[in-house]
């Protein structure tokens, strides 16, 4: 068990950094502008991230599994560690970075090192989704923005009551956003371990009603790591988001969080995908996407809906750079790390 935990540690570290950084995408505005207390946000966020990871986390992980079936625990450890290191370095160098893109890059690094064939279909699907997800967020945000505007015009709610409603709406959107974040991004944290570690956890029943499979227990651990990240480090990131980068009005914040949560959910929920497919509607590939890019997409969408004055081409450039630079850097780091772990530490990595 201890060996497993040591090997899982790199994934748990990724989870921690996800909780520290990405929770702020969902809760930053609300907490940073003191609409919601950090304590409430952290609690709701942790609970819903774990629920999302355990209940709906399998879909996106499955796609990562297709990209690279990492069959050895040491290999998975190294891949997750390489992704984590890439994220850490790029963050330090103030480069735009997404955990999702780093993990995929690191998996490609493993594929190259182990000389496994890369599933080009899966890779194209993943990379296409990265470009598509912020665009979709922008579209959803613009639609929601106009819908909210129209509703407010019709309802003429008193400012005092509207603020109460906004607060409740922000809590609900935050809970949904956290669930979607857990469902979509747990694949980044624990996806690479599914193949090699899930069989080490045996299924167990809770009150003979629920059964937690090995994978779900793995995701629970990852979710818990995210929660630790939320509690220990996310507050300062939230304060920065709330007071600096995106200064949004409370209602716009609600629109942005809801839009990006919907997009994250679309790319994570198996149930929704099956529902869409069975009704002959276009469905979405289940792929871990970047919550930061999704939020930025939504902010741009609202900006365009307001008349396009807020469009910052620099931000768009940084996102595009992230799509290319992050996976490349992570792939190189993973390749080198796998070489070291195999040849210096004598571990079997594939």
């Amino acid at each position: 068990m201890i060996t497993i935990l040591i090997f899982l540690s790199s994934g748990l570290f990724l989870g921690w950094s996800l909780g520290a950084n990405d929770a702020a995408n969902v809760w930053g505005t609300a907490v940073g502008t003191r609409m919601i207390k950090f304590k409430s946000a952290a609690l709701i966020c942790s609970v819903f991230v774990i629920l999302g990871a355990v209940i709906s986390g399998a879909g996106a992980s499955h796609t990562l599994g297709k990209l690279g079936a990492i069959n050895e625990l040491a290999g998975a450890f190294t891949v997750a560690l390489s992704a984590a290191l890439s994220v850490f370095w790029m963050t330090k160098a103030a480069l735009p970075v997404s955990t999702s893109q780093a993990v995929v890059g690191a998996i490609i690094g493993w594929n190259l090192f182990s000389q496994s064939a890369i599933d080009m279909k899966a890779l194209t699907k993943v990379m296409g989704t990265w470009v598509f997800s912020p665009v979709l967020s922008a579209i959803v945000a613009a639609i929601l923005y106009f819908a909210v505007l129209a509703l407010l015009k019709v309802w003429k709610i008193h400012l005092i009551r509207l603020d109460g409603i906004t607060r409740v709406a922000l809590l609900a959107a935050g809970a949904f956003g956290s669930y979607s974040l857990g469902a979509n991004n747990i694949a980044n944290v624990m996806g690479v371990f599914v193949e090699s570690a899930s069989e080490l956890f045996t299924s167990f029943n809770i009150g003979s009603v629920f059964t937690l499979t090995g994978v779900q227990q793995l995701f629970f651990l990852g979710g818990a790591a995210i929660a630790v990240g939320v509690y220990t480090y996310s507050k300062r990131v939230m304060m920065t988001v709330g007071s600096g980068i995106y200064h949004l009005s409370p209602i716009t914040a609600f629109v942005v969080v809801l839009a990006s949560s919907i997009v994250l959910f679309l790319f994570a929920s198996k149930g929704l995908k099956e529902f869409l497919v069975s009704n002959n509607l276009p469905s979405f590939p289940l792929v871990p996407v970047s919550s930061s890019q999704s939020i930025v997409g939504a902010v741009i969408g609202v900006g365009l809906a307001k008349g396009g004055r807020n469009l910052n081409l620099k931000v768009l450039g940084r996102i595009s750079l992230g799509w290319v630079a992050t996976p490349l850097i992570a792939a190189v780091v993973a390749f080198v790390a796998l070489f070291i772990v195999q040849n210096v530490f004598g571990q079997i990595v594939f």
């Binding site: 008193h158 400012l159 005092i160 009551r161 603020d163 716009t252």
Partner: protein
């Protein structure tokens, strides 16, 4: 719970706005009574405004307490209280003007009587519009600008009447003493101050409304 408290604050805000409106109507009547020499009525109306003023003060404190303690997103909180405080200055001004009338007892000149009554009516209209603008701010921000335009219009009209009174007082030969001419100028300025206060609220409301646009 949250919505019950919201409801009570909404009711308080409405009551507060009603008081401001009532005070402006009473003010207009009080000035008319003074220039008609109906001092009994004037005193009664002065008392009414004084009561409304102290009632509004306590409503405003009540709202402030609830907003800061348990309600409202910090972003809007400051603006709402800022608005209520500036509106409170409007009612304070109307009370002050009446108090000065009752202490200094300016002489009534028939040549200026209609101008003073017209000035107080225009000033009261500006208050009426700022109250409507404030109501719109709480429920339907798109309607705020049209009321603000009217506030600015009435303020400008008040300025014109004020200048007219001053010119008549200083250019005409019906007032002999310089001190009495100055006294007339002083009261024209005082009444006009009510419209100026409304315009100050309008300027603030303009910004608050932009901030509220989502």
């Amino acid at each position: 719970m949250l919505f019950n408290r919201a409801k009570s604050v909404e009711a308080n805000i409405e009551k507060f706005l009603e008081n401001i409106l009532k005070a402006s109507l009473i003010f207009e009547q009080a000035i008319k009574d003074y220039f008609d020499g109906n001092m009994e009525n004037f005193d009664m109306r002065k008392e009414e405004i004084s009561k409304l003023e102290s009632e509004s003060d306590s409503i405003r404190r009540d709202i402030k307490h609830t907003l800061y303690k348990e309600l409202l997103i910090p972003e809007s909180r400051g603006d709402v209280l800022g608005l209520l405080e500036s509106l409170d200055d409007v009612i304070d001004t109307s009370q002050n003007v009446l108090v000065r009338f009752s202490i200094e007892k300016p002489k009534v000149w028939n040549q200026l009587k209609d101008d003073f009554i017209e000035l107080s009516a225009v000033a009261a209209k500006s208050v009426e519009e700022i109250v409507s603008a404030s109501r719109a701010f709480f429920r339907e921000t798109t309607k705020v600008p049209e009321h603000l335009v009217k506030v600015h219009f009435h303020e400008h009209e008040a300025d014109k009447i004020e200048v007219r009174i001053m010119k008549k007082a200083f250019d005409g030969d019906f007032i002999e003493k310089f001190s009495e001419k100055v006294h007339m100028r002083y009261f024209a300025e005082r009444i006009s101050l009510l419209a100026d206060e409304s315009e100050t609220v309008a300027d603030k409301l303009d910004i608050y409304t932009i901030k509220r646009s989502i």
